[in-house]
C-alpha cells in the first residue's frame, strides 16, 4: 500500500493533470446533456439480457 502511495506521490503532477482532464470532460458532457444519454446506455449494457 505504501509503495502504491509512493508511486502516486512521484507522479503527482500527472495524477492531478489527468484528474483535471476527467473533470473537464465530465463538465462538458453535463453541459451538452450527453452524460444523461451515456448513463442510460451504460445501464442498458449492464442489464441482464431479455429472454
Amino acid at each position: 500500500m505504501t509503495s502504491a502511495f509512493d508511486v502516486v506521490k512521484r507522479h503527482f503532477p500527472i495524477v492531478i493533470g489527468v484528474s483535471g482532464a476527467i473533470l473537464i470532460t465530465v463538465g462538458v458532457l453535463i453541459w451538452t446533456g450527453e452524460l444523461f444519454v451515456l448513463n442510460i446506455k451504460a445501464q442498458q449494457l449492464l442489464k441482464p439480457p431479455r429472454h
Binding site: 492531478i16 463538465g27 453541459w31
Partner: protein, 344 residues
C-alpha cells in the same frame, strides 16, 4: 384524409415547431372514433427527449391510423418551442403551462406520461416512461416532482425495518471506523484524547450535533418537494452552472500541475477548537444540508401496493392497446401488429 390526420391538422395548422393553445378535453370529446396517443412532455424533462424519436417512429408506422398529440405541461412557451426546434416532430403539441390540462385527464404527476385513447376517447390507458422499454435506450425513469414508485426504492419499508437498516449501516465496517473522527470534530477533542474525555465533555456537544442535524434534515426533507419543484423549473440552467463549475475546477487542476502557486492547500487551523465551542450546531446543520439531496425528496404518504398494481395494470394495458390490440384500427383487424414491429 383520415380522421386522425384531420385531428392533427386541426390542432397544428402545420406549425409543429410551435406549441398551440387549445383544450385537450374538448379535443378528446371531438375525437371519438379516432385512436389517439397523448404524450405529456416538458422541455426540462430529459426522458422526454429520449421519447421523441420513439414517437416519431410510431407516428410514421401508424400514419393515418393513430393521432399523435403532445401536451406540453408545466413548461415555458419559449423553452418548449426551443425544445421543439431541437427535437423536430410532426405532431402537434398543446400548451399547458400549469399542467391543469394534464391533471384533467389523469396526468400531471410524472413526466413523461403517455395516454392511449381508444375510439370511445372516454377513459385513457396511461403509461410512464418508467414502466416501458424504449427501443433505443431500454428502461428509462420518469422525471417527477415526487418521484415514481421505481424512484423510491425505500418506499413502503416499515419504520422498524428502516431503524434496523440504519443501525446495521452505522455499525458496518465502512462507517464505524469513521465515527471517532466525526465525534472528535464535533466535540473538539483530538481522537487520541477521546478515551480520557469525560461524558460531560463529549455528550452535550454530541447531543447538540444530533439535534441540529435532525431538525435541519427533517425540515429540509419536508420542504424538498417544494424546493425540488423550484429547482426543476431551472433544471437546464442549473445543469449548465454545475457543468461550468466542474469545468472550472478541472482547469484549475490541470493548471496546478504547471503553476506551483496554485498547488497549495488551505487549513482552518483552529477548526477542532472552534467546533467544540458551539460548532456542533453549525456542523449538524451543515451535515444535514449536505445529506438532504441523498435522501428521498418526497414526504407524502403513498399507498404503494395499490399504486404498484395500477402501474402494472397500466403497463399491460398500454402494451396491449399500443402494440397488440391496435392491429389495423380501420379494418378492425387486431392481429396484424406485433410488439417487434415497432421495436418495443
Amino acid at each position: 384524409m383520415s380522421a386522425a390526420d384531420a385531428a392533427c391538422w386541426t390542432l397544428t395548422r402545420r406549425t409543429p415547431t410551435k406549441v398551440v393553445d387549445g383544450d385537450i378535453a374538448a379535443k378528446l370529446a371531438k375525437l371519438k372514433g379516432v385512436l389517439m396517443l397523448v404524450n405529456q412532455w416538458a422541455s426540462w424533462c430529459p426522458n422526454c427527449k429520449q421519447e421523441f424519436p420513439y414517437f416519431q417512429q410510431l407516428a410514421r408506422t401508424y400514419v393515418r391510423q393513430v393521432a399523435f398529440v403532445g401536451l406540453d405541461s408545466q413548461d415555458q412557451r419559449d423553452d418548449a418551442e426551443a425544445f421543439l426546434r431541437g427535437f423536430p416532430v410532426t405532431d402537434p403539441s398543446l400548451f399547458d403551462p400549469g399542467a391543469d390540462q394534464a391533471r384533467s385527464i389523469g396526468g400531471g404527476q410524472g413526466w413523461p406520461t403517455t395516454f392511449f385513447y381508444d375510439r370511445t376517447a372516454a377513459r385513457p390507458t396511461r403509461a410512464r416512461a418508467a414502466t416501458r422499454r424504449s427501443p433505443r435506450y431500454g428502461q428509462t425513469s420518469s422525471a417527477t416532482p415526487s418521484g415514481t414508485h421505481r424512484d423510491r426504492p425505500a418506499a413502503g419499508v416499515g419504520v422498524l425495518a428502516a431503524l434496523a437498516a440504519g443501525a446495521v449501516s452505522f455499525l458496518s465496517p465502512c462507517v464505524l471506523p469513521l465515527v471517532p473522527a466525526y465525534l472528535s470534530a464535533v466535540v473538539g477533542v483530538a481522537p487520541a484524547d477521546l478515551e480520557h474525555a469525560g461524558a460531560r465533555r463529549v455528550l452535550p456537544p454530541s447531543l447538540a450535533f444530533v439535534a441540529s442535524f435532525s431538525l435541519i434534515f427533517i425540515l429540509l426533507g419536508l420542504g424538498a418537494t417544494t424546493v425540488g419543484s423550484a429547482l426543476r423549473d431551472h433544471h437546464d440552467t442549473l445543469d449548465k452552472v454545475a457543468a461550468a463549475v466542474i469545468v472550472a475546477m478541472g482547469v484549475y487542476f490541470v493548471a496546478s500541475a504547471f503553476v506551483a502557486r496554485l498547488n497549495r492547500t488551505w487549513h482552518v487551523e483552529r477548526l477542532l477548537t472552534r467546533a467544540g465551542k458551539g460548532g456542533p450546531v453549525v456542523a449538524g446543520a451543515a451535515f444535514a444540508i449536505a445529506w438532504t439531496p441523498c435522501g428521498r425528496t418526497d414526504a407524502r404518504p403513498d399507498p404503494q401496493r395499490r399504486r404498484a398494481h395500477r402501474v402494472r395494470r397500466a403497463r399491460r394495458r398500454s402494451a396491449g392497446v399500443l402494440l397488440g390490440r391496435t392491429g389495423d384500427p380501420v379494418s378492425g383487424d387486431r392481429t396484424g401488429v406485433r410488439a417487434d414491429d415497432v421495436g418495443v
